[in-house]
């Protein structure tokens, strides 16, 4: 009969209308600024630079090798090398970035910089509230804004950070062992002549 479908349809909408007041499960909307969705671990927004220790600029892992700058598909990274050197986490003197800028308006969050970095220095951030009133300067972030501690990285990506930490610790242990080995050898080399002289 004509009009049957209309009544059925109106029953459906009435059910939804009343239901949305009765059961909260019907409303999938998250009231964003007040309520927040729990982010998944694999979430990624834009890159940041990891530093160890307390001083962001001293502890920066980046050695300004410029691999990320070259690999970046949209070319949003700009690096200037330093003239002097500073010791890195294993104590080896390294060049550091005098300038490290990322243009967030160009970045496409592809994570290629993270994949190519041999020093675990650049990682993906989860912060997405980056609105600014200045669309040029406000979205061009420098190394001071990019530097975030390793603890922060552990917090936002726990599994990934644990792997990275294990790898870095192994490297450091190896380097330390090598250094200790070299030191003992050097000591041995230094002591041997003194030990040998009385015998002569």
């Amino acid at each position: 009969m004509l009009g049957e479908g209309l009544i059925k349809g109106m029953a459906v909408t009435a059910k939804n209308f009343v239901g949305s007041y009765v059961s909260k499960d019907r409303l999938p909307t998250i009231q964003y600024p007040e309520e927040r969705q729990v982010l998944q671990e694999a979430v990624r927004q834009f890159p940041f630079l990891v530093f160890d220790g307390n001083d962001p600029m001293a502890g920066l892992r980046c050695v300004a090798c410029q691999i990320c700058e070259k690999e970046c598909p949209p070319k949003c990274i700009y690096i200037e090398k330093s003239k002097d050197k500073k010791p890195d986490h294993i104590g080896k003197p390294q060049i550091y970035p005098a300038k490290f800028d990322i243009d967030l308006s160009v970045c496409m969050s592809c994570q290629i910089c993270v994949e190519v970095c041999p020093f675990e220095a650049i990682k993906m951030d989860t912060d997405f509230e980056l609105s600014t009133s200045d669309r040029f300067g406000g979205l061009l972030v420098n190394k001071h804004q990019l530097a975030k501690p390793n603890e922060y990285y552990r917090k936002i990506h726990p599994t990934e950070a644990a792997e990275v930490d294990a790898r870095l610790d192994a490297e450091k242990a190896k380097a330390d062992a090598k250094k200790a080995d070299a030191e003992t050898k050097a000591k041995a080399a230094a002591t041997q002549p003194t030990a040998a002289t009385p015998a002569k």
Partner: protein
């Protein structure tokens, strides 16, 4: 006491009239009648936009606007400020005079038709004998301004929207007026006040004497409301706007406050035609039950109006937009024959002087054609799951 509240606005007007010198009285009287309409109905429009968005949201399991003011009820203020501060763009190729006049021409008749609606006991701006005729004549001017807007914009989408609007409004004007004719036949007057008076009193079983509770009145009311939906371009008859097909139809080239005027006129038209539906079929300002007579008459009018608006929102949340051929088929193959048969049913009712025989006769006269016409409308359709053939 009930009488005092019922006649509150009427006595207030008389009191204010007594204070003015005699020379000014005609002007002041007109102003005092018109200004409340200019204040109340745009206010109702503002509240309706918020409630509509909230209602549609709930139907779609969303919250709807809930940021501006308590529960988002001040959203219309934000919308108003936004439309006032927006740039008013006139296309270079547009016919500037007509482009400017179209929204004004739309709003003026939308306000004018309120002149003949009785909002309460003794509350009508002008009770003249050809009230219904005036309503339809002025209401039809909307079509002119819609076409002015569509044509003067010099945009293919707006012209398409305007053509659709003309085709739709003229097609649905006929069942709209024919369904109102039944009431005029029974009452024997074109005056809205007399029509409301004719619906006073109650049946033995407690139902009020409204025309909607007769077979011809129920069919007339249904046809009237369907045609009213089409006349005010509301979903499912929103082809002239058709956001997904022709962006916004005839008002695509309007921005800022001119756009707001179109929006206002659309809702004012909706309220006015709902008000006429109430006057013709739902007993105007009469209370639905005898024991509710103490509630002021104007509250009943607005309660019925809000109920009808809720119905419109409900329909909008339920039905998808019709196709052009479905729209025309429905108007000419169902609405028009049904409206004509309904006139016969009303005549039979009138000559059998109501009663059970009249009730039965007119019920058969409308129910039979309804079933047959409904079958005829659905017979040509193949309602089955669509199958697709893909290249192999």
């Amino acid at each position: 006491m009930a009488e005092t509240i019922d006649q509150l606005f009427v006595t207030l007007k008389h009191w204010l009239m007594g204070l003015t010198p005699e020379r000014w009285q005609p002007l002041i009287s007109a102003l005092l009648s018109v200004l409340p309409i200019l204040a109340v109905f745009p206010g109702l429009f503002a509240i309706t936009t918020v409630l509509e968005r909230k209602g549609l949201g709930r139907i779609q399991n969303r919250y709807g606007p809930n940021r501006v003011g308590p529960f988002g009820f001040l959203q219309f203020v934000a919308d108003g400020i936004k439309s006032l501060t927006k740039e008013d763009i006139v296309p270079r190729a547009a016919d500037k005079v007509i482009h400017f006049l179209a929204p004004l021409m739309l709003v003026i008749p939308a306000f004018l038709v309120y002149a003949v609606l009785p909002f309460g006991r003794n509350m009508v701006v002008s009770d003249f004998d050809a009230g219904i005729l005036f309503f339809f004549a002025v209401g039809a001017a909307v079509e002119l301004s819609v076409f002015m807007a569509g044509w003067s914009s010099r945009n293919k989408y707006s012209l398409l929207g305007a053509m659709r609007a003309i085709a739709q409004m003229i097609s649905y004007e006929i069942p709209l007026i024919l369904s109102a004719v039944t009431v005029i036949m029974i009452v024997g007057s074109l005056s809205t006040v007399k029509i409301v008076e004719a619906q006073a009193g109650y049946h033995n079983i407690g139902l009020p004497n409204w025309f909607v509770f007769t077979p011809w009145g129920f069919v007339g009311f249904s046809l009237f409301m369907i045609a009213a939906t089409a006349e005010s371009n509301r979903s499912p008859f929103d082809l002239p706007e058709g956001e997904s097909e022709i962006i916004a139809g005839y008002y695509i080239e309007y921005s800022g406050f001119k756009f707001a005027l179109f929006f206002l006129a659309e809702y004012l038209g909706l309220f006015a035609i709902s008000g006429l539906g109430i006057t013709l079929f739902l007993g105007g300002w009469h209370a639905p039950f005898a024991f509710l007579e103490f509630v002021p008459s104007w509250i009943w009018f607005f309660a019925k109006l809000v109920a009808l608006i809720f119905g419109f929102i409900w329909i909008r949340g339920t039905l998808p937009r019709l196709r052009m051929d479905q729209l025309m088929n429905f108007a000419w193959k169902f609405m028009l024959p049904m409206a004509l048969i309904n006139i016969v049913a009303a005549a039979v009712w009138h000559f059998m002087r109501g009663g059970y025989e009249g009730w039965f006769a007119s019920l058969i006269l409308v129910a039979g054609p309804y079933l047959l016409l409904g079958r005829g409308l659905m017979s040509g359709q193949k309602l089955e799951k669509r199958t697709y053939r893909y290249a192999e």
